[in-house]
């Protein structure tokens, strides 16, 4: 834990009364923000609280509708692409969450990508390696600048990404969930690098939800909610419950809690499942008619559990039993034949086939039921699709409209619906409401409840904690690769889930 930074240190970045409106959303509402030299400020808030907008104003990627952004005593005045260049020239640097390195180029080349030292198109390799060495040393990294990025571990890549912002004269570095894809041991290396950056007098904005990380490296926390900065508190003496309360607001009112279903027979049982390096010793059981939620922070291994069950990702230990019988040599098709359906986290990359129609995107899980003597029957396909469309309230002009013309929510319903078509009795839904509008979200909750009422078993993974109490009969909270807590309806409360996700020393 850091002590508060004295108030006499110079201010590096300041927002005064900044408001940003997007069509239909007030993303940021007259926000005031101040960051001093050498400060490490954690930024906390739920999805959509306004964190990204705040960051985009600091980096000059966006202009506020009203209000002033001041970096290093100079108000940003340019607009468009120049604004970001202006902020950059005042020393604002961002480390992006998704890795942006070229894998087959060397660490040194990546550090100076497109800005290689040299003249007349010739790269001065010696200067390149020296400067790279210097940047790596200043973070205390023992990485050979000449080796290709492709052989580095995920943590080392993240560290290179951080080292990349050091050349030039950075005054403020923004890190957006830099440890979310890392296992705990690896995350520590990143934290050590952040410590070094702030020790050099550079201000740091650190977006993370891992409370123990925040306690280690930040001196203060800014909590955001609904586009507003709620409060900035010193980490010293702040208590996790209090921070959770600030994030959720007083409105902690919850919708009608789920009436726990009459659980049917156990269908799925997972014992001591481990998936290197994120999941160690996870066990649970799932009954027919039950919706089991899995909560956890980004990178806590939620997806890995589903993928390991489906045989898409190798597990390093443990057993998965279906109907009481252990399933050995799991593969996707084997699990499908056992009645399992899986909807992936990324609808666009792994869910829909954009060039095909709603109909074929639906029946793709089971062609045989729409085939007679080896020939697909247009009538049966349309009928099967219509059944799914009606049952899942998919809004589409025709059964054969290209799925890419549908809204995200309706696409997601089709991806779920294809497993209804296949007659799956266990549904593994990975972030089924991601990138979906509010109305579609509510519909998806209702669909999931209806499917459960029909006797299907559902595993519901979500990073939007507030939706779990609305859908789940039970919720497992995943933290540091294990199940940290289990809650049962009607005693599922989002503040309790939040606290359990965030901290190892909660309560």
């Amino acid at each position: 834990m850091k002590h508060p930074i004295p108030k006499d240190r110079p201010v590096i970045a300041r927002l005064e009364g900044c408001t940003k409106q997007y069509p239909g959303v007030l993303a940021l509402d007259s926000a005031d923000f101040e960051l001093r030299e050498g400060q490490v400020r954690a930024l906390l808030g739920k999805n959509g609280a306004g964190k990204s907008t705040l960051i985009r104003l600091l980096t000059g990627a966006e202009e506020p509708d009203t209000g002033i952004v001041t970096i290093d005593d100079t108000p940003l005045s340019a607009s468009g692409a120049q604004r970001a260049a202006e902020a950059y020239s005042h020393g604002v640097r961002v480390v992006y969450q998704e890795l942006s390195l070229v894998p087959d180029m060397s660490v040194a080349e990546n550090l100076f990508l497109g800005r290689w030292p040299g003249r007349g198109g010739m790269i001065d390799m010696q200067a390149l390696h020296e400067e790279a060495r210097h940047a790596l040393d200043s973070l205390g990294l023992d990485i050979d600048p000449q080796q290709p990025v492709s052989i580095l571990s995920p943590a080392e890549r993240q560290l290179v990404e951080i080292a990349r912002v050091l050349p030039g004269k950075p005054r403020m570095v923004i890190l957006d969930e830099p440890t979310s894809s890392l296992a705990d041991a690896e995350a520590r290396k990143v934290l050590a690098a952040v410590d070094r950056i702030s020790a050099a007098g550079i201000a740091v904005v650190y977006v993370s939800h891992r409370m123990n990380e925040i306690r280690q490296i930040a001196d203060s926390v800014t909590v955001m909610r609904d586009g507003r900065i709620i409060e900035t508190v010193d980490v010293e003496g702040a208590d996790t419950q209090e921070i959770v309360r600030l994030m959720l607001g007083a409105s902690g009112k919850e919708h009608d809690a789920v009436v726990p279903a009459q659980p049917g027979p156990e269908i799925l049982r997972v014992d001591a499942l481990s998936v290197q390096p994120k999941i160690a010793d996870v066990g649970f059981s799932l009954r027919a008619g039950e919706v089991l939620g899995i909560a956890g922070l980004l990178g806590s291994g939620r997806t890995e559990i589903l993928e390991a069950i489906m045989g898409v990702r190798p597990s390093s230990g443990g057993t998965v039993s279906v109907d009481g019988k252990p399933v050995s040599g799991r593969s996707f098709r084997k699990m499908k034949d056992l009645g399992f359906g899986f909807t992936p986290e990324s609808r666009k990359d792994a869910g829909i086939v954009p060039l095909l129609g709603v109909d074929e995107n639906t029946v793709v899980t089971d062609w045989s039921s729409v085939t007679r003597s080896g020939v697909l029957q247009a009538g049966l396909i349309a009928e099967a699709t219509r059944r799914v469309i009606e049952r899942l309230h998919v809004k589409t002009a025709r059964t054969d409209s290209a799925i890419s013309t549908l809204s995200g929510g309706n696409q997601q319903k089709v991806v779920i619906g294809r497993w209804v078509h296949a007659g799956s009795r266990v549904l593994l839904l990975d972030e089924p409401t991601r990138g979906v509008d509010v109305e579609a979200k509510a519909q998806i909750y209702q669909i999931v409840r209806e499917l459960a009422a029909e006797g299907k078993a559902v595993l519901f993974v979500s990073s939007e904690i507030e939706e779990l109490p609305l859908v789940c009969d039970r919720v497992l909270v995943l933290r540091e690769g294990r199940i940290a807590e289990e809650m049962t309806a009607p005693d599922i409360h989002q503040d309790a889930i939040f606290a359990a996700c965030l901290a190892s020393d909660a309560a």
Binding site: V312, F332, R333, K336, F342, P344, D349, A350, G351, I352, V353, P354, L355, L356, E360, V364, T365, D366, W367, S368, T371, G374, V375, L376, A402, R418, A422
Partner: protein, 316 residues
């Protein structure tokens, strides 16, 4: 996209064919003669039969450059089989099996060992050409008189058998691509292999199968080549793979996979064949013919891309 928009590509290709008929009909002597028309059909069969399978391969997001050497190799193998006294029908069946097996090598390399299909079929391309040249010393392997083989080159009601076989196979592939789970799975794999896999489609089996089909079609082309030349020929069908790919691409099938149609390929085959035929009749220098063909292929695809972009812009 509207119903009409989906067939925009086919309509414009059809218009291009009509245009080619008008131009060559007016300028090239004998272009419209019955004899030349049957010639066009026979030439079309050489490209077309291989192009049906190639369409599935390209829709699945793969590529096959081994067609020419595969056809020549099979024609050589067939000629030897017949020389050795293997009953002709048996030799045909064997040739199709061999074609399928050769295709399965490329398919398995792609599906199970992640070798890009371009590389896998490039290897086949080189190895098969080399093998047939080695076996034959680059000399034709004559089969003498053979009633069944000869029958394959004797017109039926004025139509070359090759053209009839091409059209029958077209109907089969059209049907398979539109109305069978296998055909639609090819589209799904090409459109989003990850999503196809996560829907339970056996992506590997699809990938192997399309290359097996391509090998079998090459075998049929090899038979027709044998019938036409009266001998197995290691140097024949050179460059065929590029005509095939050009026909498929001109037909509107996306090299990136997921989009395409058999009807488009049929029209593409006709366009490529008509251009070749017409330029020969016009007596244009053989080398310049290649240049003109190259320009027309690129122009056709460019026009297609432009049409798609404009369609997308209008929709937005």
């Amino acid at each position: 996209m509207s119903r009409l928009g989906q067939h925009m590509n086919e309509l414009s290709l059809f218009a291009a064919i009509v245009l080619l008929y008008i131009i060559f009909g007016l300028t090239a002597d004998g272009f419209l003669s019955f004899y030349n028309q049957t010639n066009i059909l026979r030439d079309a069969a050489t490209i077309g039969i291989a192009a049906w399978a190639a369409t599935l391969i390209i829709i699945a997001g793969e590529i096959d450059v081994s067609t020419g050497p595969m056809v020549a190799f099979i024609s050589v193998v067939l000629a030897y089989l017949i020389q050795w006294g293997v009953p002709t029908v048996g030799a045909f069946v064997l040739a199709i099996v061999i074609g399928g097996l050769l295709g399965s090598i490329a398919g398995a390399l792609r599906a199970y060992f992640d070798v890009p299909s371009f590389v896998a079929t490039l290897g086949l391309w080189s190895a098969l050409r080399g093998l047939s040249l080695y076996f034959t010393d680059a000399l034709p392997v004559s089969i003498g008189r053979n009633d069944i083989v000869d029958m394959l080159d004797r017109p039926i009601f004025g139509l070359p058998p090759a053209a009839i076989i091409m059209m029958v196979l077209f109907a089969v592939f059209w049907f398979v691509s539109k109305r069978t789970a296998f055909g639609r799975s090819v589209f799904a794999v090409g459109g989003n292999a990850q999503a196809a896999f996560l829907s339970g489609i056996n992506v590997r089996r699809i990938r192997v199968t399309i290359f097996v089909l391509a090998g079998m079609m090459a075998a049929i082309s090899g038979m027709l080549l044998l019938a036409r030349l009266g001998s197995g020929n290691a140097t024949a069908a050179s460059g065929l793979e590029f005509d095939v790919i050009a026909a498929v691409v001109v037909g509107g099938t996306a090299l990136s996979g997921g989009r395409g149609s058999m009807l488009g390929t049929l029209l593409g085959v006709l366009v490529i064949t008509l251009i070749g035929n017409g330029l020969i009749l016009l007596g244009i220098n053989a080398f310049i013919q290649e240049v003109v063909r190259g320009i027309i292929i690129v122009a056709a695809v460019l026009a297609n891309i432009y049409a798609i972009k404009r369609g997308a812009a209008k929709k937005g």
